[in-house]
Every structure is written in C-alpha cells, then in structure tokens.
Point group: C2
Chain length 676, copies 2
C-alpha cells in the first residue's frame, strides 16, 4: 500500500466539508452558544438540574435560535434542515437542554405546527417559540411505546356537548416518559384513539391543557414524576393520566382528520393505516435530530479520548528513555480510529438525510414515495448512529481509564445522557425492522402496522433496484462498481469500487436470502405467521443493517466527491477506506461464509486495516480538530485543568536529551487540587 497522504492536512479544510449545507447555522452556534453556561454541570441534584435547564430553555428561546423550523409568518424561518443542524450543535452542550429543546420546539411545537391547522398556529405557535407555553408530546404509554397504533387512551366525541372525553382506561394506558410533564408543561399534545358516532377512527392528537396558571394539574389530569433517570436529569419526564377530561372540539389537531359538530368524521386520507403513518411521518424530524445529536456526542467523546491519548503515557518503550503515549499503541488505535472513521461516515450520511428531509418537506406537492424512503432512512440511521454513539462513548470512557470515570472529565455525562437514544424516538431494533420491512415490500404497499409480516407481498426483486438508486452518489458509485473486474480476487482492498461492490453485494444477497426464507415460512403448513417471521428475525434485521451500511458508505463517497482541497480529500479517502474495511472486517464471517473473501484475502484485510491505522495515526488530532468543537463546550478537566499543561506536553515531546521517563505533567509544586 503506497501512502498518498500529505504530512499535514489543514483541519479547517475538513471542517468546511463537514459543516456542509447548513454551515451558517453551525457557525452561528459556535459564535453565540459558546457560552460556558450551556455546558453541562456536574454533581447537581435532579431538582437543580431541572431548574437550570428550564432557565436555559427560556434563555435559548430569547436568543431567537429556536425558530428555524417554524413558519416565517410566525417569526420562524421555514428551515427544517437548519432546525436539525441547530439541534446537532446544541448537542455539543448540555444534552438535557438539547432534549428539552427537542421536546418543546421539535415534538410539541412540531406537532402543533404539522398536525394542527391555522387556528392552532395563530393561537399557540408564538407562545411555544417563546417558551411562554411549555408543552408535552404525550404519545408513549406505559404499555405501548413502539406500537403506537395500539395506544389505549381514548378520546370520545359527544355531539350533545360538542366536546371530547379524554380518558385513560387503565394503568398501562397512562402516558409515560413524557418530557416537560413533571414540572413545566402547561399543555400537552395527547395522542389517543378517536371515537365518534360509536366508531373508532384510529390515533389522533389533541391539544390539552394539563396545568393551570398556578401550575396545578387541571381537573381530571393526574401528573406523576418519572423521577431520577440514568441521565438527562435536567428534563422533567413524567406521567399523565386522564380521568374523563373534557376537551373542546376545536382542540383536535385536525390537519389529517376532523369531527363535525354532529360527530361526522372526515379526513383527506381515506385509509386509516395510511392516515396514521402519514401523521407519524410528518414527525420524522425528531428521529433525524436524535441521530444527529448522537453524532455530536460521539464527536465530543472522541475529541476527549484522542487528545488525552496524545498526552497520556502508560509504559516505557523497551530499551528507550521514553514512555509511550497511549495513542501509539495498536490496541488503542484499533479502538479509536475505526470508531472515528465510522463517525465521519455517519456524519456524511446524516448530512445527506437532513438535506433530503429538508427538500421533501419543502416540496410543493408531497412525494409519498420520497417521504416513505425518508422515514426508512431516518429510522435506520437513527438506530445505527445511536448504537455507534453508545459503543464509542463507552470505548472513549475506557480509553481514558480512571479519569474517564470522573464527571469533571465529561465522558460519564455523555454516556449517561445519550444512553436512552437507543430506545427513545423508536427502539432501535424496532426501527431496523421498519427499515427491513421497507426493503422487503419495496415501499409499494401502504405501510401496515409491523404485525403484517406474514401477509406482506414479497416483491423485493423488482423494487430492490429502485432502492439501490436512491443515494446521492449513485451514478458515481455505479461507475466505480462497474469498473471492478468480475473476478475481483486480485483487486486491491483499497479499491473504492471493490469496497462499494462488497457492501452492495452483501446487501443484495442478505435481502435475497431473507425473502426466500420468509416465503418458505409463509407456505409451511402449521407454522403460525408469527413463527414464520420470528424464525427469520435475525436475518431480517441483518438485511436492514447491511442496507444502512451501504447507504452510509455511499454518502461518504459523495462527501469526498464534494471535497475540493486535495489534502483534505486524500485524508478523507483514507478514512473512508478504514470505514469500509473495518466494517467488512467486523463481518468477516459473512464474507468468508459466502465465498466473498478467500481465507488469504481475509488475513490480508486485517493487515491492511492495521496499515491504515498506522497511516492515519499522525492525523488523529487533525481528524478531531476538524469537528471544530469550541473549547468552552468541552468542559473536560483532563484537557483543561492544569495551566500550561499542553505546552508542557509539547515541550516534553520535543526535549531530548534528557527526557525524563514518566514526567508527563509539568513539575509544578505539588498540592491538593480539589476543584470543587
């Protein structure tokens, strides 16, 4: 492998590429949200954290930086993509604030905006934006989280009074984990089964006051507290129970379904299931934001681990008068570098997703296919990004040893706060199933609830090609893939076409296999529909994983294509190699099992990955610097505490002779250094 990497790469050039389409939003955040007040605080009680976050939410609202996603006529900017970029930037600060903002302006405000109509907008949007009307998004119930279609809360229309009766029939139907519920919320968008004229019309949403002006629960509304959580303790999650609460008719958010005074139901979308998924689909931004926020947290963790690993020494090099910095160990590189490469890959995939979301939502006419694809992509990337975050932040914590366990070094907070990302806004496994379902039914059928596996028509063959067409770089990818000779055993592992082909091939083959097995199960006498699906569930989930992997790699390729600076482009190319090859390496079993790699080539793969690590080692710092995270946001003692420490490190590395083994901290007078 001949290295094509320049000795130094300007991180600013990389940053430009990463900042992408919403660079102005990111720049603005760096300039105006760098306030240390937005960084997390360690060692608070839950009450203190909640009060601080409420205060900061108001401050954020006052800064005018929460309205990007709202309509211009109400003081917003009609910039859906920008609103996600803005949340991604907020996620570099206190994640409780990010989630509180997501609840208030994304979920609650977004529901009023997207499910409501003009009278709701006129009455509430400005107060929502200013945080004068804090609100909840009351969808999840204790008994039903993933299967929203089966929510148990009912809202029954009575033409006599012209009002709805909102009711929680039993404990399992209480609304649970609801942000803004335990302390701040004045209103809630409540999702419930609409019943009128004795007929169920499926899940709809109402805007319901839950507290009066003094902050007391409204009549019939009981409010519980979810109490301390693993993290995000600045967010007041709670439980809502409704005991025959009267809701005026006009509080139904009626963009997709309305009830006339006499109780007649009407909707622009006839089919109930289609209507339901259209309603949910408008809320895709929440999921996109979670994936993006997970990315920001991952970048932060990597920056901390990489910078610490450049100064932290462990053992002496044998026979040499120096101790080795931990970043020089292969095992450490094996931990940090593939994670960093994947973070880059996911960044480009996220950028592409946000861009697509923005365009789909701004289109004059709703492109339903594009919308379904967007949802599928959002679901899959959310799953992959949040799992990657959990794994990587954990690895970074361990990479920092005992220091990584102290809150003053940020990593514990990152870990605890992001942990719920894998299960909120959709459980990751359920989301991957959603992706798989999309692949299997090829977006042709209107989405049924996820129980429909057995009945689904398997028309994958035809639609797979359509699916494959849909990433930004598809034409370029096709050219590269086509250039790979049919017998590809001798093609370099660093050939981008070969890598792309390997990803594509794995996806196709996995999908084919899943389709065949599902068909077989569906026609096996005596096998229940559930068992027929369940026996193949692992295979089905793998289909989704391999699909998302390909989408991510292609987005990376597209990102490189957009990079003008030759040095930055070369470096990104190598990072992309590492992403592609470490992904293949992690699934080596599959490639060998299916004859896609020979044993010899599989061994070579490991050697090439190790070689890439060596080649990228000198650029580790550049790769995290390119994230351009302001120092004020890091709030990490090991990177900042000892004045002059980093200078001393630099001096230490340069000095010879004599280099004193182990004295990696400056020889300042010793003393107690409690920083509390």
């Amino acid at each position: 492998m001949t290295s094509t990497l320049p000795t130094t790469v300007d991180p600013k050039k990389l940053q430009e590429v990463l900042d992408g389409r919403w660079a102005h939003v990111r720049r603005d955040a760096r300039e105006h949200l760098g306030d240390p007040e937005f960084a997390p605080v360690y060692g608070e009680t839950m009450q203190e954290a909640r009060e601080r976050i409420t205060r900061l939410s108001k401050k954020l609202a006052d800064s005018g930086r929460v309205g990007l996603g709202f309509p211009k006529e109400y003081g917003g900017q009609d910039d859906s993509g920008g609103s996600v970029a803005s949340i991604e930037m907020l996620a570099f600060g206190d994640l409780s604030l990010m989630v509180k903002a997501g609840v208030q302006w994304g979920l609650f405000g977004g529901a009023v905006q997207l499910l409501g109509t003009k009278r709701h907008h006129d009455a509430y949007l400005r107060d929502i934006m200013s945080f004068d009307l804090p609100g909840c998004f009351a969808m999840t119930e204790t008994g039903h989280g993933s299967d929203v279609q089966q929510l148990r809360t009912t809202c029954t229309y009575d033409p006599e009074t012209g009002t709805f009766d909102l009711h929680t029939p039993h404990q399992a139907a209480r609304k649970d984990y609801i942000g803004n519920a335990a302390k701040d919320g004045r209103m809630a968008v409540v999702f419930a089964q609409l019943i009128t004229q004795g007929e169920g019309r499926g899940v709809h949403a109402w805007l319901v006051p839950i507290r009066d002006d003094e902050g007391n629960p409204m009549p019939g509304v009981s409010i519980g507290d979810d109490g301390p959580k693993a993290g995000l303790n600045g967010v007041d999650n709670g439980r809502l129970t409704f005991d025959h609460v009267t809701v005026p008719r006009d509080m139904l958010l009626d963009r997709y379904g309305s009830v006339a005074p006499d109780g007649t139901y009407s909707s622009p979308i006839e089919n109930e299931t289609r209507r339901f998924f259209t309603m949910l689909g408008t809320l895709v931004r929440g999921r996109v934001s979670v994936g993006g926020s997970a990315g920001s947290a991952t970048k932060l963790a990597l920056e901390i681990a990489v910078r610490y690993g450049d100064v932290r020494r462990q053992f002496a090099a044998p026979g040499e008068p120096r101790e080795v910095v931990v970043n020089d160990y292969l095992a450490h590189q094996r931990t940090l570098l593939p994670a960093l490469a994947t973070t880059y890959a996911l960044h480009f995939a996220q950028e592409e997703l946000v861009s697509r979301m923005h365009d789909v939502q701004r289109a004059a006419v709703l492109d339903e296919t594009a919308q379904r694809e967007l949802e599928s992509r959002a679901a899959g990337l959310k799953a992959v990004s949040t799992w990657h975050a959990t794994r990587t932040i954990q690895a970074c914590r361990e990479a920092c040893g005992g220091a990584g366990y102290l809150q003053e070094n940020r990593l514990p907070t990152l870990k605890a706060d992001t942990d719920v990302f894998t299960t909120f806004e959709g459980d990751n496994t359920v989301l991957l199933q959603l992706v798989a379902k999309g692949l299997l039914t090829g977006y042709r059928e209107a989405f049924g609830s996820l129980d429909g596996w057995g009945r689904a028509a398997f028309v994958a063959e035809q639609v797979r090609e359509a699916v494959l067409e849909r990433t930004a770089a598809r034409a370029l990818v096709q050219r590269l893939v086509d250039a790979v000779p049919r017998r590809d055993d001798e093609v370099s592992l660093l050939d981008r076409g070969w890598q792309l082909k390997a990803f594509e091939d794995r996806e196709k083959h996995t999908l084919d296999g899943a389709v065949k097995r599902l068909r077989k199960g569906a026609t096996t006498p005596g096998l229940s529909q559930f068992d027929a699906f369940n026996d193949v569930q692992d295979h089905v989930l793998k289909t989704a994983r391999t699909h998302i992997d390909r989408v991510v790699l292609e987005a990376f390729v597209a990102g490189i294509e957009r990079t003008a600076d030759p040095a930055a482009r070369a470096l990104l190319g190598r990072v992309c190699d590492l992403y592609a090859l470490s992904t293949i390496e992690a699934d080596k079993g599959w490639f060998l099992e299916h004859g896609r790699l020979t044993p010899t080539r599989a061994k070579a793969l490991t050697a090439v990955v190790n070689q890439l690590l060596k080649e990228l080692r000198p650029h580790l710092r550049t790769l995290v610097d390119a994230f351009a995270i302001p120092d004020a946001w890091l709030n990490c003692a090991i990177l900042a505490e000892e004045p002059g420490r980093q200078e001393a490190m630099a001096r230490h590395d340069a000095a010879e002779p004599p280099v004193i083994i182990g004295e990696w901290l400056p020889d300042t007078p010793a003393g107690a250094t409690s920083r509390r």
Copy 2:
C-alpha cells in the same frame, strides 16, 4: 437436534451447583443481608450517598461479616475464598457499599495484613475490621496507574532521625482515585519508591496517618476530592499529596523488605522485580473480587430483563388475538440468552478461581508457579467478566426500553456503578497483555515489567502443554477431545468434545502465530523493540482472549460434572452448548479463515444456535431464578411496583377466551403513580 431437556427444572437444584464451595457464606448473606437498607437508593446527592455508605460500612462491620479473610487470632476466619464469596453477595446490594468494603477490608486491611508484620497486625487489624480505623490504599498516581513499578512518589530513609521522608515530587505523582481518601480515611497504605543509603529499592508500602482525630489533614498531607463520578458516588474517592511528610521507620510494611536503623536494606527476596511482583501478587484478592462482583451485577441485570421480558408485550401476533411478550422474539433471545449462558460459564470459572486462590494462599509453602498462574487467571477473568458485565447490563437496559432508563428500575445504577470495573484494579487491556505474557514466557521467567516483550525468551511450545494441564476438568476434557475423530467435519456441533477441541485448537494456533510473529519482529533489522511488539499487539491480545475462553469453557464442563440432579445437569449442558457455540459464532471469521469451519458448517452453526435459543426459551426464568437473588435486593419498580401485577400477568396468560390485546397491566383505576 433432539431435545433432551425435561419440561421443568427445579431452580433450587441449579442454585445448589452455583452456590458451590462457599454455599454457607451465600446462604448467610441471603438470610442476614436481605435488609432493604443494603439496596441502592436513587436520586441522592453525592454527600448523602457518602454519608449513607459510611453508616452502612459501620453497620456491616458490626454485623461481624467483614472478617472472613483476616487471621483467626484477630477475630477473623482465615477464609480467603469466603471473603470473596461474601463480597460477591454484597455486590447484589449497593455497589458503593461493596466497593467501600473492598477498599477498607480488602485493599487497605489486606495490605496491612499481607505486606505488614505482627506489630502492624497487633496495632491495627482489629480497628480496621471494626471500621474504627478507616483507611486508604494509596497506590495509583495520576501519572501512573497501570505501570505501578514506575510510581513517582518517594520515601527516603534518613538514619539521622530514624524516619522516612514521604514526598510527592510533582503533580503527576499525586495519589489519585483513592477510595476513603476524600472523607473517611484516617490512615493510608502509601506505595512509594523506597530510597535508602542513596539507593532506590523499588516500590514498598508504608502505613501513613493522613487525618488527625478531628478529621483534619495531617501536616504535609494535602487531600483533594475526585468529586462526582459516573457511579459509585457513595465512595469518597480522592487525591493525596505528600509534602515531605515524616514517617516513622516502623511504619514501613516490612514483610518483603525492611530498613535497619542505620539504613541498611534487607529483603527475603533478592531480585527487585521478583520482590515487586510477589508483593503485588499477595493482593490478587482485589482483582478476584472485582470479577466476582461484576458477575453478581450481571446476574441482577439479567434477572430484571428476563422477568420484565416475560410480561412486557410489544406487538400483536399477526392474525392472533394476543400480543407477543418480548422474550418470545428471536432478536430478544439473541440478546439475553447467550449473555445468560456466558454468565453461567463465567460463574463456574470464577468459582474455580476463588477456590484455587483460597488453596494457594492457605498452602504451608508458597507455590510460586501456582501463584503466577493464579494471578494470570485472575487478571484474565477480571477482564473478561467486567467487559461481559458492561456489555450485558447495557443490553438489559436496552431490553427494558424506557423503563430501563429510570433509576427506580435499578439498571442505570448497575450500569453506572460497574462501569469503572473495566479499568480499575487493572485496565482490562493491560490485564490481557499480562495473561498473554504469561502464556508466551510460560511462567518460566520471573515477570519483568511489561516492557520486556522484545527480550522475552519464546519458549511457548514446551510450556503450552503445561498451561493446558491446569484447569480442574483437564482429564475429562482430554478424554472428550481425544474422542473426536481427526476429520471432525461431520461431528455434531453439540458434541462437547468437538467444542472443547475447537476452543483449544484456536488457542494453540493463535499462540503459535503470535510467537512466530514476535520472533520475526525481534530479528527484523531496524525495527525497534516497541514496534516489533506493537505491530502484533492485536494478535497478542487475541491469544489471551482465546486462552481465557478455553479456561472458562473447561470450568463450565467441570461444573456440569459436579451436578448430580439429572434435570439440572441436562439444562446446564444445553446452556454450555449455547456458551460454546455462541462464542464460536462470534468469532466465526477466525474459524472460517483458518479452515476450522467450512462455510456450510458455519451456516449450520447459526441455525443450531437459534435452535438452542428456542429450546432454552421455556427455561429462561428458571435460569435467573437459580441465582437466588432475594427480592429485597432487586429494588426494581417494574418488577415490584403494582400490587398484584405479577398475578395479573399469570392470569392474563392463562385466560382464554377472551384475551384482550395489550391490556397487560391489570385494569386497576387509573391515577397518578408518582412514587417519590
């Protein structure tokens, strides 16, 4: 695959096997530590947690349950193994209390006992046991954790005054992460470089008062606070800095080295490195306890996830009037069952380790080879058990969805408290390197510091056989392995001999390869010793992993062999199959790459694992019940909160017709259920 499993297995019969040699200690703990006071408390401030844990530590001391490991003449029981079993039981309660106990009676008390001599025992052991003398184990420094031999704190003898001068030369040499330091500690066992007559004699330990009777720092001692941590906030970790502190000559813990009044140094062990590792070796119990505690926390997490997964429903089964409990999903089983099987496997390995530790430490004459092996085993199992804990507790948290993120459901605390296990008492990667070094040098050489890779004599071939001899079940294992035909392609994957052979074979081959590559590197001109080692580090670490995997499997086989009850034995046999095959499946790439599995057989492996999951599914609950964790220790709202909930579940499952979809909580009147 023909199922040989009985329909029901009595969890009590399994429990008997699991309780093992120290069943009496476990029984006693279940009877007397079931006090809810010992369960974790949610939502405390750090100060509250510290005060509570200090109070509980005293209570624990008063109960007389902390002395098992101490000599009988001081009121202990000379039962080293029992002391670990006791810590393992304590780990089912509040992990801060377990760690505080480990610091006080394991590390601090253990160091006084094992590194000190009679005058130290007479003066301090009783007060240590009663917690009237809380103390610290001050080894780790900010700049040196893993490489203890390179600690920077000095303790210089002055024959004029007959005292030592203990000094922290610079910030990086301050003692850090020291339990009991920030609040309670009155004395500390301080590790430092002994200097006398102008000569360094390596690391030794002194007993040093750090606070006076009023709790103020002693002259020259500065005490800092590590502040809030990710978890374990009931433990007061802190920092100690010594500014020329005078230490009387007789406070040197002088079992392995003493200084005469005139400054003459003497030691029963001539070689400094050997002395150092002998000293450290006596402290192996700490590492063994961490591995065992990780096991307890893992069991708790699995019990919560399994029991919740038996009542939590997600989606309806297609075409059926029921919702599926999540434990019935293959993906959920793929998460929980292999983790449970590994937990069983590690339990048996831990039991074998504790037993061996107990016997080695009780032997009249120290068997140095056995001691080295013990250390290696302890290091490896600690690494594997704590990584398994981190991964499994995370998986259980996710398996419980949003509920798993609430502190009232215990999992967040388990996660946060155990997280540091992977890096304290030895960083896991460093520990695996220690294991690998043991394998490579075959225990023949006295251990040098870990920098000695390049110089190590590679005599692996001869010693490997010796290494292989050393597990409890070796004779049985050999018989089973020998019975496998040479061409083993057609042997059932469920053949225990084939499984054992596969593990053994992988270990041997990996070790062979590592030896060859290290030899080659050592003789490559121009390659530094560091690079020669570093280029192979991933391979070397894999050697250690495969070694530990084999040791664990063989311990499982030995455990089954000890099981008399036929039903329990059959069930354990299937669990062992799952452990063995899911371990092979996870490393399928290696087995395919090295021709140990054909592609066809590799595919069959996945099918067999899925079949095992199906077969074990009905026994999931039995497998966690066998851990016999008292309900009072679970302290988990989703398992306990709603009165009659579990009865209702049972009713629900039995009732037909009609089964109401989704109503998996009893139809009690709805209402606010804040439990704070």
